[in-house]
Structure formats: C-alpha cells, structure tokens
Symmetry: D3
Subunit: 178 residues, 6 copies
C-alpha cells in the first residue's frame, strides 16, 4: 500500500527579484505587462516544480489586474507558493510588489493565480502530492482554489455551469483575491 505524500505550502515557496531594465519598459518608462507575466510564469513554475519534484507546464492563468505602473529602475519582488493540488495539476498564487529603493517607496502591485500540470519526459501528466495548508491564510487560499478551478473550467468550456456547485459562491471570490 502506498501512502500518498502531502506537502506544506511553505515547501514550495519561491521569492524572485528582478530589476526593471530599459528593454522591459514602454514609451512611458513603465514595465510592460507582458514582461511581468513572463516573470510570474517563471517564479510560479519553480514553485510548482518544488511541490511536485517534476517538470511542469503552464496550464492556465487566471484574470490579472495591473493597477499601478512599475517604473524603470524599480526592483520587483515576486513571491509564489502552491495553494492546492488536483491530481496532476497545481494552483500557484503569486504576489508582486515593486520598490523604488532610493525613494524608499514600495507598492503591492498585484497578485495572480497560475496553474501547472506535472508531466514526465513524454509530456504525460503525473500525480503530485496533496497540499496541507498550515496557516489561516493558506486554508483560505486552499478553500478558494475549488471555486477558482470551477470558474476556470467553465471559462475554458470544460465544465457545465449547472455542475459548478462551489461556483455559486463566485460572488465571494473577490474576498479570496484581496
């Protein structure tokens, strides 16, 4: 009999720091959204690798809002950890902040959810450990993951709305996000 292993969110935690260089910016000297998403994808892929100890591929990205411009020369910090696993897929939450260090200004830029699938060398999905949340925040993220997953499946046409029992609480999703 094989006991299914569990892992804590902190075991997959990754922190990444990037400096905003000229080629990362638009005409207004602000970080381009696409460049930030590129970094988000890398940091969350590493978190998913840490959780699954396997190769991972990006499966989906949830709605992302870009509220504050991030400027040339800013230091961007991205923090990622796995919130919940479903068989071979993992949801990762990423929190992004940006600092103008000489001016000692820091903003919480935005957060996002990326999902990854663990695969073997033939690109076939493989099972991953379950997530065992430890803190209240982690438990809230763990619980919300089910609703977010149903929304994802409906938006990609793989679940019928009437089956999405958890999604009826969609109107609570905004709390889980903030």
């Amino acid at each position: 009999m094989s006991l299914k292993k569990k892992k804590y969110p902190r075991e997959s935690f990754v922190s990444m720091t990037e400096l905003v260089l000229p080629n990362d910016t638009n005409t207004l000297n602000n970080l381009m959204g696409g460049r930030l998403m590129h970094w988000m994808d890398i940091v969350s892929a590493i978190a998913a690798q840490r959780h699954s100890n396997s190769i991972v591929v990006t499966a989906s990205v949830d709605n992302i809002s870009f509220r504050h411009p991030i400027q040339l020369g800013n230091v961007v910090t991205l923090k990622a950890k796995v919130t919940r696993a479903f068989n071979s897929s993992m949801e990762v939450r990423i929190d992004v902040s940006a600092e103008n260090i000489p001016q000692a200004k820091k903003i919480e830029s935005n957060s996002a959810y990326f999902t990854f699938v663990a695969v073997d060398h033939n690109n076939q999905p493989i099972d991953v450990p379950e997530v065992e949340p430890e803190t209240d925040e982690e438990r809230a993220l763990y619980d919300g993951a089910l609703r977010r997953r149903q929304l994802r499946l409906i938006l990609s046409g793989r679940m019928k709305p009437q089956e999405a029992n958890e999604l009826k609480s969609i109107f609570d999703i905004k709390e889980a996000q903030s």
Copy 2:
C-alpha cells in the same frame, strides 16, 4: 459640437509572427507560457494603439488556457483586434496559432482577452473612439465584452456581484470564448 468618432474592429487588426527560439523554451523544448503572454501583450497593445492613436497601458488579462504544447522551431501567429471600448479602456481579443511548417501541421493554440487604457504623456486616461462591429462574429464579441467586463470588475473587487446584471448570463461566456 464634437461628434464622437467610431472605428471598425478591422481598423485595429494586427498580425504578428514569431519563431520559437531556444531561449523561449523549457526543458521539454516547449514554448514557455510566459514568453507567449509577452508576445500576446505586445500584439494586443499595438491593436489598442491603432484603435486609440494613443499610448496604452495594460489594465488586465482574462483567464487564459494553454491547451497544446508549442515546440522549438514552430512559427507562432498572433492576431489581435479591439472588440469594444468603454470610455478610456479597450478590450482586445487575441487568437494564437502555431505551425510546424516542414511537417505542414498547424494548431489553433488558444485565445485571450487583454484590456488596455489609453493615456496621455502624464499617464492620465483619455477617451477613445467607440467600436462599430461589422460582422456577426464582431457583434458577438462586442456583446460578450459587457459580460466579460463585469466578471473582470467583480474579480478585481471593483463591482458588487448583485449589480452585475449582464453577468447573470455568465454561463454563456464559454460560448463567446470558443
């Protein structure tokens, strides 16, 4: 008296072609999701620029699903056009396909919605022309834009669910997406 100008979706249409190079790929020689989102951001920003004839900044990205791996050496084609405008913001739909030309294989990879805000040189929002859809497909995208916008506002905590009259048809979103 100034008449508000309207523009057709085809006036903002942009087609972009990229070759998948080694640094764009992961350990399995597949295009990384973050790199693809970077290209999506550039092509849709150009579409939004064409519609507004102004500088634009990325405001949000809707849920994106990555269904098929895109491989090293593939040619990726990204097509973008503005579906609808709301004051200073514009929704852009992007369709991505990938080809292995020597093997004559082409896949419809995925589609996505990005929103942009038109700004002046002081980063202040400015109004943009309205969108006048011409074809049935453009009208469907134009109509769906309202529901997608309400979902976006709720997910980012800027609209109360009970006010989202259009969103009650959320369960139809999946049709507009396919």
Copy 3:
C-alpha cells in the same frame, strides 16, 4: 510519373510586426540597421519555409537601402513572399513599413530581396515547388528575379558577365525595385 507541384506567391505570404524597443536603437534613438536585417531574415525565412515546407538557410541578401530613420516606439511591419524558385533556391521580397501610431504617421521604409536554399536534415539541398505568379505585380517580380539572380551570381563570382544575357537589362532593375 510525378507532376511537379506549383505554388502561388500568396501561399508563402507572411506578415510580421515588431515594436522598436530601447536595445534596438542607436544613440539617436533610431532603429539600428542590423536589427532590422535580423527581422527581415526571420520573416523571409518563414516565407521560404511556407513555400518549400522544409528547413531553409539564408543564401544571400541583395543590396538594401535604408532611407528613413525608424524611431524608438515605432511599430515596424514586415511583409514577405516568395517571388520565384530556382531548383532548391527561392527569392523572397520583403517590404518594410514603420508607423508612429499615436501621431498617425506611416512611412514605407524599404524593400529587399533575400534568397534561401531548402535543405534536408543533413544540410543537403532539396528541390522546391515552382512559383506561379497570379497578379501583374507578381509577374513583374517573377520576371525581374532572373536579372537579379544573374547579378547575384556575378557579384559572388559564380557567373561570367558575358553569359548574363538577362543582365543586359540590368538598367531596368531599378524599375522592378520600386
């Protein structure tokens, strides 16, 4: 009996869009010629791939004039299609335009001819379909390709000038170019 396949120029048509970023520019904030040629090579290689459904390698580049500076933040559009094939080699014409979208200014920047050779995985040349021009412009490009090829062969020391019967009309090349 195998009938040799023919293809139309429009079957190899490719459109590529690039945004001029800081690292693409020189001290005057103008796009560097070498960066533009890098993009020209990629777009025309894709056109040659589409025509031949094979791997291609750059064989030569004809004289290119850079008339107008292209600036930081401009959107560059490159359009390529195969004009004529000779056994395993293909001539591709590329037309480049540049736009300052916020100012609604567009310039026809320049055009160029690149030639490619179709090869197999051992780097050996393989035959490609012939080109069947459909429009008057395509027929003019098809006819001019012979003169341009003779000039190429002479300039690279692989043809004796006295054998270049078609090249006697070299003084008409400039018309085919404009």
Copy 4:
C-alpha cells in the same frame, strides 16, 4: 584656411569576436544569417565612427553571400575598415571568419560592404575626412568603391545607368570582391 584632413584605413580598423550561442541558431544549429548581419552592422558602424569621429547611421548594405554554415559554439571574428569616403558617406568592408577551436578548423566565411552616413545630433549629414589608402589591397578597395557606389545608386534608383561611366567595368566587380 582649413586643410581637409585625411585618414588611413588602418585608423578605422575594428576587430570583433562573438561566440555563437543557442539563440543565434536555427533548427540545424547553424548561425542565422540575420544574426550575423546584426553583428556586421555593429562592427562596421564602429569602424565608420572611428573614421569620422561622429555618430553614424547605416545607409545601405551591398549584396552578401552566405557560403558556409557557421555552427553553435563557433567563434566568429569580424574585421572592418573604411575603404573610401564620399562627402558625408563612408564605405566599410567587413571580413568574417568562423572557427571551431577545439577542432582547430577555421573558415573564411564571407565579406560585405556596408555604407554609413555621418550625422550630427539633429540627424543632419556632416562631412568626413577622406581616405588615404596605404597598401595595394587598400588601393584596390579604394578604386573599386567608385564602381560599387554607382551600382548602389542605380539599384536604389538614384542614378541613371547611362551616367555610370565607372560601372561599365561592373564585370570587373567580382575581382574586387574576392
């Protein structure tokens, strides 16, 4: 009275060395032509800067042939010097070689002529020193520059063929190239 300064070709000589990295190569692991042209543009722009002690912009590129594939891991050496000046424009010759150092194999890859215009900070052309060739090879390049210039002007539609007295010796161009 100001005497017009002259400069020797060796005063503008530049040698540049590049290592072929994965992103510089195509599916066959060969250096892409466009990447090589990008390097050619940089090395020849530096030579033109050295001759003119001013900012320079690329004006044109002559026909280039790519004869031998250059491979991943090869070391590419580019050598450039100004061959002749015409008022504000300079012709630069570039010689490219490639080495597989562990196998002690070196090939003369190809050569090319780029022309540059010296400009001030307002993008206006400014006069440059004349070139004073010292060696036989430099004198041959200096003499050939006139014919190459006439061909360039005809190909870009800025000179009538019948005025190109020097170009009647076009059939000698191939010697000057080798």
Copy 5:
C-alpha cells in the same frame, strides 16, 4: 547635531531566483561563469541599494571560485546582504546555490564579496549608514571585512602592504570565507 543611522544586515537582505536557460550555457550545457557573475552583480547591487537607499555603482569584486558546474534547467538561488560599510562604500556577501528540482539535488555553489559605492545623481560618493551586526555569523563577516578591504586596496595598488596591519591575519581569511 545629526545622529548617524545604523542598519542591520537583515535590512539589506535580498533573495533572487533564476532559471538556467539555453543562452546562459556553454557547449557542455553548463551555466557560463560570466552569466552567473551578471546575476551576482544585480542581486548585490539591490542589497547595497536597500542599505543605502541610494543609487550604487560596482566598485570591486573579490576572488570568486567556481567549484561545481550548474546545469541547464537548474534553479539558481542568490542571497545577498551587506556585511559592513566604510563611509560611502559597502561590502556585500553573496551565497549561490543551485538545484535540480526534479531530481531533488541541491548544491551550495559558491560565495563572493562585491563592493559598491553609493552615489548621487552627479555620480559623487555619498555617505551610507553603518552596519550593526546581530548574529555571530554577521559579526564574523563584519570583522573579516576589514582584512578583505585591506587586501582589495593592496591588490588595486591603493594601500602600501606595510600599512595593512589587519592583513597580517590574511592567512585566516579562508576561515571567514567558508
């Protein structure tokens, strides 16, 4: 009267994570030393910025040993903090580790000391807070910084060996390094 501010090493702590991509590697698919030093410079510059809340420029790099090859696809973690300040200069220690996550292998790769100078917008040095070590390890790094500084000054010809009283304990430097 102005009290000179002090800061703890943990206030300048920065953690950076990078994924080794194809272009970062040599012919053996190992991370190139120069690429790693580029990342070391960025992470330590951010630590120096955090300590000084100013712009910083790299002043020197101490001897670095590269003991273990880091491979394509590895995740590299760089941790930096300021060990000691001298007027306008700061010494930063960087520790580098590398992981093959799918194989659950982690190596301590190497460590290094970079020094930075805090400058204003005219590139003039400005004073920075002193460092107040809190832990035993931080105190050992703080003490060793004096010897390392004297070695640096001698190696760059700015201090006479006979004045380097602290350096007589150079033969103890190796302990501080491990």
Copy 6:
C-alpha cells in the same frame, strides 16, 4: 616518447569589441559591472580555448576593480591572452578599455585575471600545452602567475598559508597588476 607542446601567449590572443546598449546600463546610464564581467568571461574563455584547443570551464576570477564609469554608447574593447598554464588550468589576463569615439576620448578601464580548466566531453580535466613567454611583459605576467595562483588557492581554502613560499612576495603583486 611524446614531447610536450608549448605555445606562445600571442597564439591565444583575442580582441573583442562591444557597443554599450541601453539594457547594459544602470540608472545613471553607466555600464553595469556584471555585464562587463560577462563579456570578460567570454573573451577570456575564447583565449583559453585557443591555447588548449579544447572546451574550457571558468574556474575562478581574481579581484577586479572598477575605477571609471563606462557610458551608454561607448565602445568597449577587451583584449585577452593566456599568461601561464598549470597542468589542466590556464590563467588569462584581460585588459579593458572604453572609448567615446565621437568625443575622441579613451580610457584604460581595468584589467583582470580569470582562470579556466580544459575539459573533455565528460567534464574531466585534460592537460594543456605550457606557455612560453616571448616579451618582457609576458615574462613578468608568467612569473607573477605563480604568486596569484597561491593567493587564489589560499583564498579558496585549498592551500595552507605556510606553504605559500611565493606568496611571501605578495606585496609585489600590485606591481605586476599595473
């Protein structure tokens, strides 16, 4: 009987030229130290390849001082040659200069010593030719290499200080550096 081959320093000489582009610079438009070290690593690796005709890996970097800021648009010249070999390892000296060509200003920026190990395709060290210095400068570099090597070994904890007989002349190292 196999005679051990010797090589002259000039046989490994490499000159590399780089143009400082926007992404290479910090907030003050100066070249970042890490970018310069990346170039130093490439040029010195090529010199070590030339000496050993084998694949090489970076083993260590000696103390580097950055004295003068190098600016956006400057042309950086890096010159490298092997000074001495020890079994499978080679010391390479790199001299860096920077020019503002339009202003005809040139500075000797800095110099550095990198060491490399020659390896076979299994990453195992292989012997390299000895170095035969020809000029007085080359002999001084050859002699100094022994002291620098002992310092390197002590700093990396692989030699006991009391065994470093040559290092007693460490106080002369500064002369060999200038």
